[in-house]
């Protein structure tokens, strides 16, 4: 019970901080991904007219939104706490570092739910035909958020300066989307990148989101890959986040 209270308090602190930082959140979670959807449609040529392509673009934009909010934005908040001394404030409390991270993960889930819902509505308004399987989509979104947040937590814990950390989170947040077959098919990628890019978490996430948007449930291998990556990145993130310096 005590642990839950701690997690909720950390979550509420971040949520209340959003009052002054809603602008950057909407940019990262909605404006950029929505613009990317329109851009992909515009440059997609004849293929873009097919619903399959539009589903790919929408799934790509959802993953883009998750990547920006879970790695770039969340990483930025964690770095800000660390390098402005707020983390020290948490460290003075009988609060476990894991509760601190779990509070942040809760915050990331809320952001992901908001971003995904709005992007789905935008897709619907723009005429994308979809039959989303809500339960499967929720599972994929949660696993993606956990996995990507893990990267943000690791960078925030290891960065030597705020500048270094925010550059890394920004680069990774965008890079994981553009280097993976998220908006386009693997076949259109350079041969040298094709194999590696298919093992990026965003590649698994985009494929799984696409499947669930078209009403499919065959997400087992993608969900498993995301789950394994989430366990590895978060375990490392938990291990690296410490209250006490050596």
């Amino acid at each position: 019970m005590r642990r839950l209270t701690d997690i909720v308090c950390v979550f509420r602190i971040q949520l209340m901080s959003m009052r002054a930082e809603a602008g950057p959140f909407f940019l990262a979670a909605l404006v950029f991904p929505a613009a990317m959807y329109l851009f992909a449609n515009a440059v997609g040529g004849v293929e873009a007219a097919q619903n399959q392509s539009r589903l790919r673009f929408l799934a790509g934009s959802i993953v883009f939104s998750l990547s920006l909010t879970s790695i770039s934005w969340l990483g930025y908040l964690l770095l800000e706490n660390r390098f402005t001394g707020r983390l020290k404030l948490f460290a003075t409390l009988p609060l476990a570092p894991s509760s601190y991270i779990l509070g942040f993960l809760g915050f990331a889930f809320v952001q992901a739910a908001l971003g995904t819902t709005v992007l789905l509505l935008i897709g619907r308004v723009l005429g994308v035909v979809m039959e989303p399987s809500i339960a499967a989509l929720t599972l994929v979104i949660m696993l993606t958020v956990l996995c990507l947040c893990g990267f943000g937590v690791i960078i925030a814990a290891r960065a030597r300066s705020f500048t270094e950390g925010s550059l890394l989170t920004d680069a990774l947040g965008a890079g994981l989307v553009f280097l993976a077959p998220v908006y386009y098919t693997p076949e259109t990628m350079p041969q040298s990148m094709r194999t590696v890019s298919q093992f990026l978490p965003t590649a698994f996430a985009a494929r799984a989101v696409r499947t669930t948007l078209s009403g499919g449930h065959q997400i087992g291998s993608d969900a498993l890959a995301l789950a394994v990556m989430a366990i590895v990145t978060l375990a490392l993130g938990f291990k690296l986040t410490k209250w006490r310096e050596d």
């Binding site: 209270t5 701690d6 602190i13 901080s17 002054a20 706490n81 020290k88 003075t92 409390l93 310096e245």
Partner: protein, 318 residues
Amino acid sequence: MVTEETLLEPDRARVARQLPERAASVAVRVRGLVKRYADGTEANRGIDLDVQRGELISILGPNGAGKTTFLRQISTELRPSGGSIEIFGLNAVAAPQRVKQIMGITPQEAGVFESLTVREHFELFARLKNLSKAAARAATRKVISALGLVAETGKRVGSLSGGQRRRILIGLALLGRPPLLVLDEPTTGLDPSSRLAVWGVIRRAVTDGATVILSTHYMEEAERLSDRIGIIDHGRLVAVGTLDELLGRLERSYRLSYHDQLDPFGKLCVHYFASFNEARAHVADAELSEYSIARASLEDVYFTLTGERFERGDTESA
């Protein structure tokens, strides 16, 4: 743990309730404390100190002497390289989370959440200190009132001055009335009236039964607040005692100060003498027309032990 039922308890009793069963009469026991960094720097070199329950001890020392390192180790923020720290009989090195339940800490450099209002900040951190909702609200009201922040209650922390934010950090340590307060330069950056208000709050906490360890750059703060004063230099606790005990360590307790008559705006010359007459004799020999003879102060003890003087800004009185 403070609960709603304990809200009306006398403060002294509430502080006692938070202590472990059979808590020692010594609040803090430090033995052979060493901090050695990877580059070989030794910030603390074997510090021994006992702080009694209900005592307020100030730690003085030049910049880089090891004061903050010492306090960071007590507050469990920094793992010691050697030695032991017991807080009310609990091993602070082995069980930092347990120990933090009975400690209020103000770090030297900590940030606040600028988007939260003052009330939200206190209430959420009170909850993180394991206070119930009602107790958190009550504790918030008390701390805000004690620190003179009533007019700022509903304001965003980001709109407050540096001194007001510093008071918030002190208030966060006071939430829940922990039996031990560890305050690292709590009044640095505060204007004189705010500093006086904080001194009052700290003294009240001691009256209510708390034990306080604080580091300070202000001589006057140490003199006026402390039951005992410790002086750290080059990582060692070179002296600890009451003000009278420290003054008693000086063999020459009369201080003669003057400016060179040929350079009246130059450096202040200071000499120490065993008696007033000895000082007067020196004045006659040197044919000084403008001078001052005074009993030695804590500043003189500090100078004698560390070889360093406080800068004028540091001794600014409140």
